[in-house]
């Protein structure tokens, strides 16, 4: 698989993933590009630097596990898997189509590299905690990573899982919160406030770090910090911009669950390609 050597390369990969997201959601005529774009930098860092995994051997037992709790951003997961070599990149354009392995939300067993069926929000952290617990029982050394949306933290099940993971000292569990501050109905703080978010996690017994979720260096450093955990789970809150990388999509809740029209698609791809050139 492709392992990025430096920050510029990771940034470039992140933008490639963003282009994939725009193309696949536009081809599908639906999907969730906004939250996919806000998670792109993290996903590039995970799949091309931090995580131990073998795209040609998806079930390799020593792999790090990744659970996408915010399953609606399946496009960014599929792009990460395809670009790292789990399946042909061309297959991305089958997203959301009949008989495709790329379902609207991730399905375990359907596509190599997808660890869990998700999409109904609020459940991924429990599943990831179960996986981390299994690793503890079997004395396995891999990590379990879980990407949460910020809006989904309004769901109580997350906090049941947070309590559980801290109680059992699951230091092999790392949660990420994509804090893009927007959900379908608008700003999370207007819908139902989730702040003070870092304090909440701390109060639940987690190690907490808040970073700029579009800064590759900070993401790498935070992941290294998380891997040093002892007896406590870690959460990294990534302050991000929904729709990040495409000017007219940034901070625009309209693109939570809507794909670009043909003109918008062209414009978005041009912007992202220009940004990739700058990454050199």
């Amino acid at each position: 698989m492709l392992l990025a050597k430096n920050e510029a390369e990771l940034k470039k990969i992140a933008n490639k993933l963003r282009i994939d997201v725009i193309e696949m959601t536009s081809a599908a005529g639906s999907g969730h590009p906004g939250g996919s774009l806000s998670s792109a930098d993290l996903m590039a860092v995970l799949y091309f630097s931090v995580m131990e995994h073998r795209p040609d051997e998806p079930d390799w037992d020593g792999r790090d596990r990744f659970v996408l709790s915010k399953g609606h951003v399946a496009p960014i997961l599929y792009a990460s898997l395809a670009e790292s070599g789990y399946f042909p990149v061309e297959e991305l354009l089958t997203l959301r189509k009949l008989n495709s392995r790329l379902q609207g939300h991730p399905v375990r067993g359907k596509l190599p590299g997808v660890e869990m069926s998700t999409g109904s929000l609020g459940q991924g952290l429990s599943m990831a905690s179960g996986m981390a617990m299994a690793a503890k029982i079997d004395d396995k050394k891999h990590h379990v990573y879980c990407l949460l949306g910020d809006g989904e933290l309004q769901s109580g099940m997350n906090w049941e899982a947070a309590m559980f993971a801290a109680h059992y000292g699951l230091d092999n569990l790392v949660a990420f919160v994509d804090r893009n501050s927007l959900q379908i109905s608008g700003c999370t703080e207007d819908v139902v406030s989730i702040e003070p978010l870092a304090d909440k996690w701390r109060a639940f017994g987690w190690r907490v770090k808040t970073i700029n979720g579009h800064n590759i260096k900070q993401i790498l450093a935070a992941c290294a910090w998380a891997k040093k955990a002892k007896d406590k789970p870690s959460v990294i809150i990534l302050n991000t911009i929904k729709g990040s990388g495409v000017s007219f999509m940034e901070n625009n809740a309209d693109f939570h669950g809507k794909s670009c029209n043909p003109e918008e698609t062209e414009c978005a791809e041009r912007e992202l390609e220009e940004a990739m050139v700058k990454c050199r």
């Binding site: 067993g109 069926s117 459940q123 429990s126 599943m127 179960g130 299994a134 049941e160």
Partner: protein, 312 residues
């Protein structure tokens, strides 16, 4: 006097037996003493995980453990096991066909004094509607023991329904439980009585009563409600020409519905369903509640008379 044993006690005994299997993990939501998973804990504390009063999380944890190759048993009361975490079970267990056994105790109206909040009368219906889910309701304690061992061998999602109170013993220690197989307990020619859970015993009593009136009733124990043993059901009804179902559950969505669905498509015959009539229960002694809510052997016999009459 028929021997009475609690199903959950035999669930605990079977779990204890399974403690030697290293792939088994048992999850509890603060009810280990009641569900008898405590027996597993005593034998194998390292395979036992306390989740606290957080059933939704318990199912999510179960899903994650199963994804890593564990055979997971998750137990709590039926109302919570089927209702509180239904959607977690749908997404994390049924959809990805996880090897998770949700074993619910305190099902049915025989929970008694705790009242309607704790009497699961909709759980079979909820679980039966989930694709990939196997639904089992053993007739007695020995069958519960055998069924627990059988589902531990089976790779896939299972919901097993048990009661709280001791129930009549109708099988023998050591009897085998075969998933998906209904058992003809006594043969008859006029009507088939399909029972599940402890109402299978009610069907046996009803058959005795009917015999005195010259009605020959066949009794079939349908302990696997899904997948339904269509072959046995159709063979029996093909012979008797009419049927009764009996369950400690709502007549909506449970055994009665399952049999009605099959018969209406394959072999339409008169059918009467014994169960709670789209109504919540209340506090009381199990025996009193059975009388008030129409779940006694007399109710089954009466339903059989009605079914036979309709045939003629």
């Amino acid at each position: 006097m028929t021997e009475m044993l609690a199903q959950r006690d035999y669930y605990g005994k079977a779990l204890k037996e399974l403690a030697q299997r290293k792939d088994i993990v048992v999850l509890d939501a603060d009810l280990a003493g009641s569900t008898k998973t405590l027996e597993f804990y005593k034998a194998c504390p390292e395979g036992f995980i306390e989740v606290g009063i957080a059933e939704q999380n318990m199912i999510g944890i179960a899903s994650g453990l199963a994804a890593e190759g564990k055979t997971v048993f998750a137990s709590t009361f039926g109302v919570f096991a089927s209702g509180r975490c239904w959607e977690q079970t749908r997404l994390g267990v049924a959809y990805p066909k996880m090897n998770v056994k949700i074993v619910a105790t305190h099902c049915g109206i025989s929970v008694g004094e705790d009242g309607a909040s704790h009497q699961a009368l909709e759980d079979i219906s909820l679980m039966r509607s989930l694709p990939n889910m196997t639904v089992i309701s053993p007739a007695d304690a020995y069958m519960t023991y055998a069924a627990t061992l059988a589902i531990a061998e089976y790779d896939g999602p299972v919901y097993m329904r048990l009661g709280r109170s001791p129930v009549p013993v109708i099988s023998k220690e050591g009897d085998e439980f075969v998933i998906g197989k209904a058992r003809v307990l006594s043969e008859g020619s006029d009507v088939t009585l399909f029972g599940t859970g402890q109402l299978t015993y009610g069907c046996m009593e009803a058959a005795e009563e009917l015999k005195k009136e010259g009605i020959s009733a066949e009794v079939v124990d349908v302990s696997t409600i899904k997948p339904l043993d269509a072959e046995t059901v159709l063979k029996s009804v093909g012979k008797t020409g009419c049927a009764v179902t009996a369950e400690e559950h709502s007549i909506i969505g449970g055994l009665g519905s399952a049999i009605a669905e099959l018969l209406s498509e394959e072999l339409p015959v008169p059918l009467r369903r014994v169960g709670t009539k789209d109504i919540f229960g209340e506090s009381g002694k199990p025996g009193e509640l059975f009388v008030k809510y129409g779940l006694t052997s007399k109710d089954i016999a009466e339903a059989a008379r009605g079914s036979v009459k309709k045939k003629r």
